[in-house]
């Protein structure tokens, strides 16, 4: 998929990437470099039409503006208005435009579950949802789950049960787990495994994830 130049994350680059880089900045720098490698041709083409501004994350002037679509939707309870290229996925819109980078891009093809968010309370894959399909809808991301400093029971249970190793799949696992519990698909380990099968974990933390879901479900039932 070609990357929307409006959404270039290269503006996240620190002035001096050598000193004091956070993990987030480091990762975004890697992402910018790899994106630059994979979309070198489109970037170069755009650079000529925008006098070299594309790499600074500014909007290309020609050929795209009339194609932008305005979307109004709610993300974690806040109204958001964005103008997006129709090709932009919900995943890219929430990560690159709204800066909510908790939602992860794994396969970007609907196969891994890392990008799971809730749309109107139901778990869906943000990588296979176009941003413009969310017009008027309510989106909840991992950032919208906790109440202030109080973690959601599923978040707390994942920590308590060590439901992760590297953590990359974890936001998607947690959003999916909340959906799984709300749907009531928690009557046995087998049922939890079946209804969580859309979230892959390369570290293999599955047994602990199942434990976390059972504990969180009990707590949510008790209203804690």
């Amino acid at each position: 998929m070609s990357r929307n130049l409006n959404d270039s994350s290269s503006s996240d680059l620190p002035p001096d990437a050598q000193a004091g880089s956070s993990r987030r900045q480091f990762i975004s720098r890697l992402a910018a470099i790899s994106a630059g490698l994979s979309v070198a041709a489109p970037l170069a083409r755009s650079a000529t039409t925008t006098e070299g501004n594309a790499l600074e994350g500014k909007s290309p002037k020609k050929g795209t503006e009339e194609d932008l679509v305005e979307i109004n939707f709610k993300v974690n309870g806040r109204h958001q208005k964005l103008e997006v290229d129709p090709r932009v996925t919900l995943l890219d819109a929430i990560r690159d435009r709204l800066g909510l980078t908790g939602t992860k891009k794994g396969c970007d093809r609907g196969a891994c579950g890392a990008c799971t968010v809730h749309m109107n309370g139901r778990r869906v894959l943000s990588c296979l949802t176009l941003a413009l399909m969310t017009q008027g809808e309510e989106i909840t991301t991992i950032e919208g789950l906790a109440k202030g400093d109080e973690l959601h029971p599923v978040q707390a249970a994942f920590i308590g049960c060590d439901g992760f190793q590297c953590g990359y799949c974890t936001p998607g696992q947690i959003m999916s787990a909340v959906g799984c519990i709300n749907e009531g698909h928690i009557r046995s380990d087998t049922e939890i495994q079946e209804f969580m099968s859309g979230n892959l974990c390369r570290c293999g933390a599955y047994p602990n994830i199942v434990d976390a879901i059972k504990i969180a479900a009990e707590q949510m039932k008790a209203g804690r």
Binding site: V69, P86, R87, R109, G110, L125, S197, G198
Partner: protein
């Protein structure tokens, strides 16, 4: 992904008139967005039908009607469906993942494209994607490919579980266009590839599946779906079987049998049904009846195992169905 324009029609009539050359209808997007990212599909216009009034799950005396925009998850969990047509619910729950089932529509499920790796890889030839370019699967990696309904042009399987259950139940779909409505048996809707594997069904340009109609079938309460795959969940079928059994006094009065994962279209098995009718409901007669299940099969280098897998999958489904 290639650029496209985007339209949101407010009526079915407007949707079909908005539909132009190189348009695609957008429902759940789980097939379309995926294939647009891969540039297997490159529509220049998307017509978003998600706001159209094509919903509802209604059980009446003559059968079940399902709006084409109903989500797979909602139909799978619907209590009338679970009670009266368990094979539909089971086929849906054994498809994809919970997230995808929350997104994908029933109509879209019936129109999903094959999972053939050559079809999905634009760097290889594929007669379905690019007519006349050739089929690398016939002499290539074909372990997951079809043994039935194939041609020298295409051996790709149809990926839908739902369609297998619906074909077994004699379901029809309502097709609507600007000036025309027609009801068509799902079994007649799908086309084997022949020399034109790019044409997969009878859908006309601008025509929408608006409703699925499943006729009343009392013995569908005794129906089941067995799916065999490389992993237990979240995987397409190597082989699947949808069966419904009418058992009276330990004999089979009537039977419905269809198979998935082995053919280029959902594969109804009338010869197996005929062999079952009147036979005692025993494992021996199930095994005898499935002897004809793979008649006409043309196994390829890697998928010869599907001949016996097909028979055994049907026997398993009949056993499970007869014990209900």
């Amino acid at each position: 992904m290639r650029t496209f324009t985007y339209k949101v029609p407010s009526s079915i009539r407007q949707a079909t008139s908005d539909f132009g050359q190189s348009s695609d209808f957008l429902a759940g997007g789980t097939t379309l967005i995926d294939l647009m990212k891969l540039e297997v599909m490159t529509p220049s216009q998307l017509v978003d039908i998600n706001r159209l009034p094509m919903r509802g799950i209604e059980l009446a005396s003559d059968g079940l009607r399902i709006g084409a925009l109903e989500k797979m998850s909602d139909v799978a969990e619907n209590q009338e469906v679970v009670a009266n047509y368990p094979v539909i619910s089971q086929a849906l729950l054994k498809s994809a993942s919970a997230q995808l089932r929350n997104m994908a529509s029933m109509g879209g499920n019936l129109l999903q494209r094959t999972r053939c790796g050559y079809f999905r890889d634009v760097s290889t030839p594929c007669n379905k994607r690019q007519p006349g370019s050739g089929c690398p699967a016939i002499d290539g990696w074909n372990r997951t490919h079809a043994i039935l309904g194939t041609s020298s042009s295409c051996v790709a399987t149809h990926p839908s579980d739902l369609a297998v259950a619906l074909v077994a139940l004699d379901a029809s779909i309502l097709l609507q266009s600007e000036n025309n409505n027609r009801l068509m048996k799902l079994d007649d809707f799908y086309q084997v590839p022949g020399e034109t594997p790019d044409k997969e069904n009878q859908l006309r340009p601008g025509e929408l599946i608006t409703e699925i109609v499943v006729p009343r079938l009392d013995f569908a309460q005794r129906s089941t779906y067995v799916k065999v795959r490389d992993r237990e969940s979240y995987e397409f079928a190597l082989c699947s079987a949808a069966v419904a059994l009418d058992i009276r006094d330990s004999r089979i009065a009537d039977a419905r049998v269809a198979a998935g994962g082995v053919a280029t279209v959902p594969w109804r098995l009338p010869a197996v049904e005929a062999a079952l009718r009147g036979a005692p409901a025993t494992v021996e007669s199930f095994e005898a009846a499935t002897e004809v299940a793979a008649d006409g099969a043309k196994p390829l280098r890697d998928n010869g195992f599907k001949v016996s897998l097909l028979k055994r999958t049907i026997v398993r489904a009949l056993l499970e169905g007869s014990r209900l």
